[in-house]
């Protein structure tokens, strides 16, 4: 659990950090080469996924059983075709869109919900804290993947549904982290002063607790996104992903594994490598952001 604020002394009672701090943080982030590599990877993968189809146009709606399992380069298919004739490169782009959109949206949703509930629980304490944290403890005691699988089996998976399902269970981590921050921040003098002047609890949470925990929140959000992308991949790998003609990298990897023994390597490597790269990218970015928000590291 972070003890960032205790290590550096009381934070300034300010709504927005001075511009210099952001610039300093950016400098530290840029000094982290892996973070820049991660950012570059993300931009590259997102660019290929979202802008690629404008350049490399393929039919990802209609199957073509006359063109299944074509090898890379055959009949103009740069990365070959899959088991129902979809162009594999076009499918990677389509799958990337789903994986990135669902991952980002679920990660952001989990972060927002977790941050709000964690801040409220930590700041108000008492029965509010007890109630929220018991819910968190109870839900954390169940392996989240099983819950996802159960829900995905009950409802028809779609991108919005996956975002909701993953977001509904992934907020537990951020809630715990932010609650810890809030427990520390609520006893700070500036918060006490604001309350003494008649400020409400809601204002304290909105204007002081959350803004001062923003570093932890943002860093955690990057890992949430990486986690969410992996969850989408897991669910699709288990056959509980979004049905065709939609695609995502996890589902493509699962399909590719069925072809493991057939020598159709182009169905296995590209989605697997894409998943590795996007998850690594977010992890590197998260590490860089952690350095940027960690004041002690700025002195190195």
């Amino acid at each position: 659990m972070s003890t960032l604020s205790e290590a550096v002394g009381p934070a300034e009672p300010t709504d927005t950090p001075p511009r210099g701090l952001w610039r300093q943080g950016l400098t530290v982030f840029c000094e982290n080469r892996l973070a820049l590599v991660g950012l570059g990877l993300f931009v590259l993968l997102a660019g290929v996924s979202f802008l690629g189809p404008l350049v490399y146009q393929t039919d990802q709606v209609h199957t073509d059983l006359a063109s299944v399992h074509l090898a890379p380069g055959e009949q103009g298919h740069l990365l070959g075709t899959d088991g129902v004739g979809y162009d594999q490169l076009g499918r990677l782009m389509l799958g990337g869109q789903t994986s990135i959109i669902v991952g980002l949206a679920a990660g952001v949703l989990a972060t927002i919900v977790g941050t709000l509930l964690g801040a409220i629980a930590g700041f108000f304490g008492g029965w509010v804290d007890a109630a929220v944290m018991r819910v968190v403890d109870a839900m954390m005691s169940i392996p989240s993947l099983f819950l996802f699988m159960l829900l995905a089996a009950i409802v028809t998976p779609s991108a919005p549904m996956l975002i909701l399902i993953i977001g509904a269970f992934a907020w537990l981590g951020p809630a715990r982290l932010v609650r810890g921050e809030a427990l520390t921040l609520r006893s700070r003098e500036y918060v006490q002063a604001m309350r003494g002047m008649g400020g409400t609890g809601g204002r304290a949470v909105r204007r002081h607790i959350i803004p001062n925990a923003i570093g932890t929140v943002i860093v955690n959000a990057t890992f949430q996104v990486a986690d969410a992308i992996l969850y989408v991949a897991y669910l699709s790998f288990l056959g509980l992903g979004i049905p065709p003609p939609a695609a995502n990298w996890g589902g493509m990897l699962s399909d590719g594994l069925a072809d493991t023994y057939s020598g159709h390597w182009w169905l296995l490597y590209p989605p697997g490598i894409a998943i590795i790269l996007i998850v690594l990218a977010f992890n590197f970015i998260g590490d860089g952001l952690r350095d940027a928000f960690e004041v002690r590291l700025r002195r190195r």
């Binding site: 129902v84 860093v219 003609p245 493991t260 057939s262 390597w265 490597y269 697997g272």
Partner: protein, 600 residues
């Protein structure tokens, strides 16, 4: 700062990396070889078979225990009165060599069948007589509500008189004059002689008596036997199961584990076992089974559909790969009772249009890797014979399907949403109960875990989208469980289409009549299809004296489309060591006769 997230995410990335690395290794080793290519096992007298652990031993079926492995296991220990084969050479499809009785003699009025037992004995040397048949009859008639094969109006309700003539002869008089082929194939197939001299008691310590001859006593005996059968851990030690009539005896049984069958030295049938032992080995998944098969550690297994490309590799390792065709049909069930889509399915032209958008030959060839064949109607084609839709009423024809929709008042919007433009009941209108603007959109409830099924529905969805028919595919572990027979007012009736045919939707007994599938209110008529003409034709198959009734029934339903006919996959693609003889032909009715197997 510490967080569980980066570690977990990184572990996930590592797992993904490991997955493709493993895949890389496997892709790379796809062509290696080097082990024995003879496929034989010289000197062996044992065979190891990939086989799910059976969990029922009593040769009277019970609800929840009707899985195929139980039937095979049961037949190895307790032979049915009649065995069947579908090669067209035998009267009533009765296998004369394996059956324990001669084919029935039918009286002039067609109501009485007289059956004479052959000379056979139990494993303890006691002769098998009509007393053992009577014992079985007493048990099932007194406990028919607990018997999985019972259907109201069927056996034994349709038996007017049951008469034992002597130790070797008994007769059955039916309530009506049934088609003998139907009665022999679909009713007499349930009779299994049971060892009255060993089982007619209500506890392990009681003496054997004639307890089952009274209905009350029969209930007690039945309960005792059922309880013993529900205790798998005692299968290889319980004295009850030591007295058998089959070619095999149970040597070792591990619940949820391996089962060993040993040749029964006192077996009285003519098809004596040639091997001394058969080891039935279960696997937790298709992948686990295939990995062991690939490593050459089992003598008989199966190739999952996703690994069909490995056929040549397995053959190079000394295996023979052979599809196991079933006496089955495969279809997409339509829910006529769905309050929204039911009115659409009621329109024959719409069913015809949907059927014409299913390219059965290409799906069978490309997606099922030639391990499926088109279904054209309710009566299966001879196993392994049909490869195209030449005999089908409706073959793949998107242009005709479009024309059919447009001629019935639908505005076809390719890759959009087709809607009803001309509501009404006229010949050029959408049909009764279909409002203007009604879209053609359906949800298919399909099965998880079958890659070929997923691809097949991707293809069908694509074809339908070209005519603006929107399909949503929902995969669930058990599609039958969530698409029950229902009334329009029930919440469970919201399903549109259901598919449960990844290994065939329905396996018939020897006589492929449709009284359980397509008759009004039939037990497996999940979609509540009802057509008085079909009912008449189905009933006729049970009473007509020749094959013409079956042909008429097939022709009518092939045209009327109570369901959408789909590619019919094989039961499994078997792979067995080339040195293993007697595996072929594989029984289309899903039994295995290990006594025919031997090593070269």
């Amino acid at each position: 700062m510490t967080s569980r997230f980066p570690g977990r995410a990184l572990r996930g990335a590592v797992a993904a990396a490991a997955t493709i690395a493993l895949g890389a290794g496997l892709v790379g080793c796809g062509d290696n070889s080097g082990s024995s290519k003879d496929g034989g096992s010289q000197g062996k007298d044992t065979v190891t078979v990939a086989f799910r652990t059976p969990n029922w031993i009593l040769p009277i079926s019970a609800p929840g225990f009707t899985q195929g492995e139980n039937a095979i296991f049961g037949q190895a220990l307790y032979r049915s009165l009649y065995q069947y084969r579908l090669d067209g050479t035998a009267q009533y499809n009765i296998d004369p060599e394996r059956s324990m009785a001669e084919p029935p003699q039918v009286s002039d009025d067609g109501r009485t069948l007289t059956i004479t037992l052959k000379d056979n004995s139990w494993s303890d040397g006691t002769p098998i007589t009509t007393r053992d048949i009577q014992f079985w009859y007493d048990l099932v008639t007194a406990n028919k509500d607990k018997w999985a094969s019972y259907r109201a109006g069927g056996f034994p309700d349709n038996v007017d008189e049951w008469s034992i003539k002597d130790e070797k002869t008994f007769s059955i008089t039916t309530t009506e004059v049934y088609n003998t082929a139907w009665f022999v194939d679909n009713q007499l197939n349930r009779i299994t002689p049971l060892p009255q001299h060993a089982w007619d008691k209500d506890s392990a310590t009681a003496d054997v008596s004639d307890l089952a001859s009274s209905p009350e006593g029969a209930k007690k005996v039945f309960d005792f036997l059922i309880a013993a059968s529900k205790d798998p851990k005692t299968y290889d030690s319980n004295e009850l199961w030591q007295v058998t009539s089959g070619a095999w005896k149970l040597e070792k049984y591990v619940p949820n584990g391996e089962v060993t069958l040993a040749a029964e030295p006192n077996y009285s049938g003519t098809d004596k076992p040639k091997l001394s032992k058969v080891v039935l080995r279960p696997f937790t998944s298709d992948d686990a089974e295939f990995n062991v098969l690939r490593a050459g550690d089992i003598d008989y297994g199966y190739v999952p559909a996703a690994n069909m490309s490995q056929t040549s590799y397995l053959e190079s390792k000394g295996y023979t790969v052979s599809p196991w065709y079933g006496w089955s049909i495969t279809y997409l069930q339509l829910n006529y009772n769905n309050p929204k889509s039911g009115v659409l399915f009621e329109q024959p032209y719409l069913r015809q249009s949907l059927q014409m958008l299913i390219d059965q030959p290409t799906i069978s060839k490309v997606i099922w890797s030639d391990t499926a064949a088109p279904t054209c109607g309710p009566v299966p084609a001879k196993p392994g014979t049909n490869t195209d839709t030449a005999g089908c009423v409706y073959s793949f024809d998107p242009a005709k399907a479009k024309e059919l929709l447009e001629s019935h008042g639908w505005k076809v919007t390719p890759d959009g949403q087709t809607t009803c433009q001309s509501p009404g009941t006229g010949p050029n209108q959408c049909g009764e109960g279909i409002a203007a603007g009604t879209p053609l959109e359906f949800t298919v409830t399909s099965q998880t875990g079958f890659a070929a099924t997923t691809k097949m529905f991707a293809e069908i969805k694509s074809q339908m989208a070209k005519l603006g028919i929107q399909l949503t595919i929902k995969e669930v572990p058990d599609s039958v469980a969530v698409t029950p027979t229902c009334e329009p007012t029930e919440a469970s009736c919201s399903w549109d289409m259901s598919f449960f045919g990844s290994q065939g939707s329905w396996y018939y007994p020897a006589f492929a009549s449709g009284e359980r599938l397509f008759a009004t209110d039939a037990p497996v008529n999940l979609g509540s299809y009802s057509n008085p003409e079909a009912d008449k034709l189905i009933e006729a198959t049970q009473f007509a004296g020749d094959e013409s009734a079956l042909t008429a029934y097939n022709d009518f339903l092939a045209k009327d489309l109570p369901v959408l006919w789909m590619p019919n996959p094989v039961y499994q693609v078997s792979a067995y060591r080339s040195g293993l003889q007697g595996v072929e032909p594989q029984d289309p009715m899903n039994l295995m006769y290990f006594q025919d197997w031997s090593w070269k």
